[in-house]
Amino acid sequence: MLLDARDLVQRFDGTTVLDGLSLATGDVQALVLIGPSGGGKTTLLRILAGLDVPAAGGVSFDGVPLPRDEAALRDYRRSVGTVFQAYNLFPHLSALDNLLLPLVHVHGLSPAAARDRVREPLERFQLAAHAHKRPAELSGGQKQRIAILRALVVRPRRLFLDEPTSALDPEMRGEVLAMIRELKETGVEFVLVTHEMAFARRIADEVAFVGDGRVLAAGPAAEIFDHCQSPRVRDFLSRTLI
């Protein structure tokens, strides 16, 4: 994907969260957004995912600008997948029904075809044994992996992952990160917001450091992590990369 975000401004209740943020990437498969909490990473991701519309500025992927009206944005959201930090799943539905819901009600598959579609991915990620459990009966890691799978089985053009491991124990973080790594290997495009610096460095094609509502540094992962000129970014990395 070629991402081009220009002069994005977003305000909530008078607070400026994105302050003229611009970011242009090369043709990357995995873009990772890092930076301090409250810096604007999640706000940026929500705009990229078509969940929010910026107050000013615009975004395009591969030269196609994101629409601004809700109906067109809904079509856009149907073509991508988004996973939040937590509470992605619908608690009244089993894991399987969570996977089937968008396939059947949004993408028009018959229930039988939808079941066929999810069978192999459930096996591949060792989740088949848990398919009939409600979210309350799943571990945090299983919940997140089902959520990623739900975003994946609709065959999206790309995924948006907003701190998918932040609410998890270390052990469960490992299983979710392993899944994301496997997605990378199978060619899935994604934008990931994370505080897992070691993981970000390994998986990212490009990294953007978002702070104070702007992109303070951006480029290939190695460049940002090893040779960044910005004192602000180096300070942040020295405190988070142990």
């Binding site: 969940l51 959201r77 939040f84 409600r134």
Partner: protein
Amino acid sequence: MPRWIAHLVVVAVFAGLIAVAFARVNYAWNWAGVWEYRQKFVQAWLTTVAISLAALVVSTLIGSLAALCLASRRPLVEAIGRVYVELIRGTPLLVQLLLGFYVVASAVGLENRYVVGVLVLSLFSGAYMAEIFRGGLAAIPRTQRDSARAIGLTPWQTLRLVILPQALRLVLPPVAGQLVSLIKDSSLLSVIAISEFTLNAQEVNAFTYSTLESYLPLAAGYLVLTLPLSALARWLESRVRFEA
């Protein structure tokens, strides 16, 4: 101890206490006088059942509509819902019935007192239902709407597939309680001369001077309606239960 035995024991102890109380006041029973009016009781009880059923359906509709008003982001729509709920909940049903029948219904030429009775009762109960439904909708976390939007559901699909199934579980117990109240509140329809269960008990009492013999069957007649309703609600609740 199984739950049903526990229930039986509690009921038996309670009945025993009541029996002792009656024995101490030496109440002179006269069931024969009241027994002659049994047909009247049955007729009136059926009227109460019919009125309650009708009001149950209509008040659920009104309550749903008003809850949508309360949740609306348009100030005028929200205000309509809020004023309705507060006016109805803040005033006695008795006054609403008298105003509704003698003023509003007369003014618009609506003469069937049974229709007026069901409408006023439904408006009354609907105000409580509206708050229950609104609370149920508000209790569903924002993250659920976000997730629904992220997978591309329309607002209507979000309501139908995500919000309502979860809200239903939350509102069932209070709705059942409200419906029990509704059945008992229908007794007030006697003030606009609707020949329902309570009015008939009052009449039988006037004919026979046997107060308790007239009113005890009244209590039993309401319990026959409200107890199964509570049981049904508990059963439904167990069927839609899941952990959040």
